[in-house]
Subunit: 355 residues, 4 copies
Amino acid sequence: MAPRKLKIACAGLGRMGKRHALHFLNRTPRAELVAASTPDDEEIQWAKQHLEPYGVRLYKDYDEMLKQEGLQAVVIASVTTVHAEQAIKAIEANLHVLCEKPLSTSVEISQSVVDAAQKKPNLKVMCGFSRRFDDSYRDAFNKMDSGLIGRPSIFRSQTCDMLDPSGFFVAYAEFSGGIFVDCSIHDIDLALWFFGQDSRVKSVVSSGITAVQPELRKHKDMDNAVGIVEFYGGQLAYLFCSRMMAAGQDDATEIIGTSGKLTVNAQPQINLVNIYEPTGIRREIPPNYYGRFEQAFVNEANEFTAACLDDLKLPMKLTGAVQAVKIGCALQESLNSGKKIYFDEVGRRTEKASL
Amino acid sequence: MAPRKLKIACAGLGRMGKRHALHFLNRTPRAELVAASTPDDEEIQWAKQHLEPYGVRLYKDYDEMLKQEGLQAVVIASVTTVHAEQAIKAIEANLHVLCEKPLSTSVEISQSVVDAAQKKPNLKVMCGFSRRFDDSYRDAFNKMDSGLIGRPSIFRSQTCDMLDPSGFFVAYAEFSGGIFVDCSIHDIDLALWFFGQDSRVKSVVSSGITAVQPELRKHKDMDNAVGIVEFYGGQLAYLFCSRMMAAGQDDATEIIGTSGKLTVNAQPQINLVNIYEPTGIRREIPPNYYGRFEQAFVNEANEFTAACLDDLKLPMKLTGAVQAVKIGCALQESLNSGKKIYFDEVGRRTEKASL
Amino acid sequence: MAPRKLKIACAGLGRMGKRHALHFLNRTPRAELVAASTPDDEEIQWAKQHLEPYGVRLYKDYDEMLKQEGLQAVVIASVTTVHAEQAIKAIEANLHVLCEKPLSTSVEISQSVVDAAQKKPNLKVMCGFSRRFDDSYRDAFNKMDSGLIGRPSIFRSQTCDMLDPSGFFVAYAEFSGGIFVDCSIHDIDLALWFFGQDSRVKSVVSSGITAVQPELRKHKDMDNAVGIVEFYGGQLAYLFCSRMMAAGQDDATEIIGTSGKLTVNAQPQINLVNIYEPTGIRREIPPNYYGRFEQAFVNEANEFTAACLDDLKLPMKLTGAVQAVKIGCALQESLNSGKKIYFDEVGRRTEKASL
Amino acid sequence: MAPRKLKIACAGLGRMGKRHALHFLNRTPRAELVAASTPDDEEIQWAKQHLEPYGVRLYKDYDEMLKQEGLQAVVIASVTTVHAEQAIKAIEANLHVLCEKPLSTSVEISQSVVDAAQKKPNLKVMCGFSRRFDDSYRDAFNKMDSGLIGRPSIFRSQTCDMLDPSGFFVAYAEFSGGIFVDCSIHDIDLALWFFGQDSRVKSVVSSGITAVQPELRKHKDMDNAVGIVEFYGGQLAYLFCSRMMAAGQDDATEIIGTSGKLTVNAQPQINLVNIYEPTGIRREIPPNYYGRFEQAFVNEANEFTAACLDDLKLPMKLTGAVQAVKIGCALQESLNSGKKIYFDEVGRRTEKASL
């Protein structure tokens, strides 16, 4: 008898939705993509060509899709503004959920997904922080976890996108939650991973500039920003995010412990080729995050599938996704107020520095 | 209607056979692994667990497997000594063939596969030189092909395996054809790719040592060897092969043109992690060729499948595989005779240097 | 007639003083080291062996040395606490001055050196920020200056020393001015160089931890710290300093412009050797700042000498050294208060953020 | 009393002669450049400006210079064709000699210098193989010597110059001895250093092409060549030399031992800067050998000086320089004959391979 496969649907077929759909269709042996939904006509046309011939049923309405018989799980890759709502509906329909990050740009709404999930402890509900599934980050984590660098103390991480001169990000900034919530959320999640999921934030402060897209200011956003996150327990993270890179995606992380340091992607490269030419020696780097993290997304699909089928523990808690949004929102607020923000030991805002 | 898939069988389930079987089972969306054969009981046991539950029919006899109804293609990953025989049988059974390298350690036997294939021009018959499917090599080739480095003139390539102190390679050397036929065959194939498939060899010469495994001498083999291959037309390849690496797989290539140079993997690494510790900064490298070329093997499976289904041109000619064996055998001969070997412009051995 | 040489004396023969003395003695062809002073008996003994035989006159008293006939210049490498006093005395004695950084850990005292120097415009008075003389930093600056990366906008820099478990830095912290004044002063100076000497600071904020040396707290210092410096004009610098590195000196800088980025020493190494061994591939890095910047110190000696002899413009203004101390002190203050510090456009402290 | 200095003269003030003269004048504290000679009027003019003012006496005639009172040593940087003659004259005048490589392009003439030197065992006579004084090569040698990589077995080295489209090398080839004697002589010397000065060559074979300068053929030279050198004792060196590099000087070496590997300059770079721009990440490399080895030449001057003054052992034997020329000449011969050349265990040419 053939082993059973996870019947999964994909909500949203935009840039990332298409990728998730294809990963579950073609690169997740234990999953079967059975449905996909999108309100967008162009995306439906794409799906008729790339998904329907392989037995994937298409829906314009998300709610209708949830009713499909036998459906066991949903991957949510729609616009951020509906992530939480769709996730909660899926949970209520007793479906496992893999939701693209962030759950929401609001801490409260993010928390509502956690609340819904906690009522259905049998379901696997995961926010897709793809870097957790990247081989290099995992290798670094395992090395740190084995004690190789002593006690992790300083965490530096950056998410730096290639400049998109089309103005896309200016429009996008209206709903993205801002550069710290949209980009640095990954770095924040990594900090929580490396420092421990239960790390408690003590303060955040940030500064930013609009070097190339001053119009971002109307959405209270910047194109380059730096933030410092202090944790109770004597750990420090500092973050840089940018949408101005000339060469391509430049995401790097370093974890400094009391007896060593680990870096991930401190010397970016797209492959193993070097080009020697009259101007010197050159290597290329990935043009975007998918060029850097494609395999991590595929790993994510496969591990989420295995967790659902075999009732395994997910690699991260859903509560961490709320914590990440909370820190991201505070950094974004500091970016605009110019002020440092303090938290007490139980996570409430406070006015005074605790030294 | 669901798109049709290529029904393929896997011959041989040793180290590489298992990998091919799993690639076609799980990572080749347009293929369906329908059968596998091996005379080995342990391998059958493995297959009962990992293949049979997914609908793969198992055979102890290769010939029986070829009769399975609906079969369209075979991937041959059995011991080198039966590659050619199995390939020819498959061709005669009107099956597409993906055969692991080399076709044979004998030039004549290799040629017999080409002869068989030429009688069935509708079949796709390919010798699996995996590096042709590696993203970095392809990027380098495309850059060279676009003229980026001028006219390719010098080719340096090495295949360097990690030392296996178990003595495996001494036993293996009895049938491997020797280090130039077993290891450098990849580098030779790359040279023929980068210099052009119709490059004509003018001379070969080689030297070697047995630094760690003197017992190799009884099979006329060495553990480290260097060779020079001259081509008519003013191109030069030089090769290094070794089975003595301490750190892991160290396969590197450089192509030098009249106005630039390309390197592939001149700075090996297993991932993007660097470790800072009291002894300095360290990176790890893959322990073996599969750690380096896994994705290339998967690409190979997918592209072979597409070529069969859509009647596309294969990325390389089968005749090149014979040419590679011919050069590899000559290098191995020179290694033992200490003499340079010359060829005339139509490929026949000659006694005199042609300057 | 032999070309004239600059007659120079060295004040202080501690770790760095010995080096300066030897640089001027042996590696500065246009200078002649004619005197050296130190109150320390062990240092005098060293000088009797290494300097006196070459015609260098030794003094236990700095003031006496200043009276030596024919003396034209002094390099001051004594303890930080006497830098300013000795510099002012030398200026008043009409001597050119090369003073080790910082002028003082106090902004006011630093300014007093500038005031003294401004009364003697014919004298060359320079604070020795050695990185300004490093070939790599200069190459990066020139590339930026030529427009290669557009408008410089983000500056990241770190000074990271190897862990010294002897406890030296705890005692040292009493007088060093703290990690931002002692270590990051170099990074601050670089920021002022790359962003323009007249950049005006808008705010500073910092955070730190004592991961390995909690005793530093008694001197209001930390062993790892991160700071953000905002400038009027839309430029941002962020800094990391540490005394906890396992591998050695790890000083790196990146300058991000609107159309490109430059990094200096993002992949540290002591030389061009890589070691392949069973644990991977390793390279070593310099154990300390002198291992990284030795040649920069030699360049500094030679260029200071040329500036004195040929009345050339110094590569940087003395006022910048005061500005660097001012920023360093503010970062150190923020480290202890936990508060962000604001400046108005003319450099006065203010309570309000200016957005 | 001031310590005594070595009084040295420089013969030849061409490209490399000027550098040697300035190194001894300015960067060798224990030496005093007292004289220089050249028959070339332009070079005399240069010397009047750059040397004479510092007390260096100038000669148009080498023999006259040798008579200068008090002279203790000569650095010979004239054209290769007079190296040996000038060296012998200096030896006969009881002067220490630092002679640029090679002693001669003829083995016999090279040997005549050794013969002359052996009659004056009190003199220091050294052939300047600059790489022996390079920090990276020395670090690699010391690591190997300490046993870090086991028994050294395979040696790969290349000397690759940037393409000089002026045609200089075509004219130069008439007297250079050919690319193996001119360029690879350094790599051969390194092989003898790493494998042991008393290594005995067993065979050489080489191949070459003229990819960009076919006119070299008239001087029996090539612009790219590869050679294999076998040694008695089971060691193998393989060499590549080129005058066709696009990016700059690309000299790299690797030493493979039975338990590890060392590379020197496998990733060339001119400094620690990386440039991120729309085409990727770029680093520059030195334009020529002096850009790569400047500090090694300075070290050479200082250590030769110390050896003369303190009667220290030179870092290498003069006989090695003859051995290097012998191997270089044999490689050059093989390049033109297309034949492998064999040597017996006492170094005589033989017709038969010894296996």
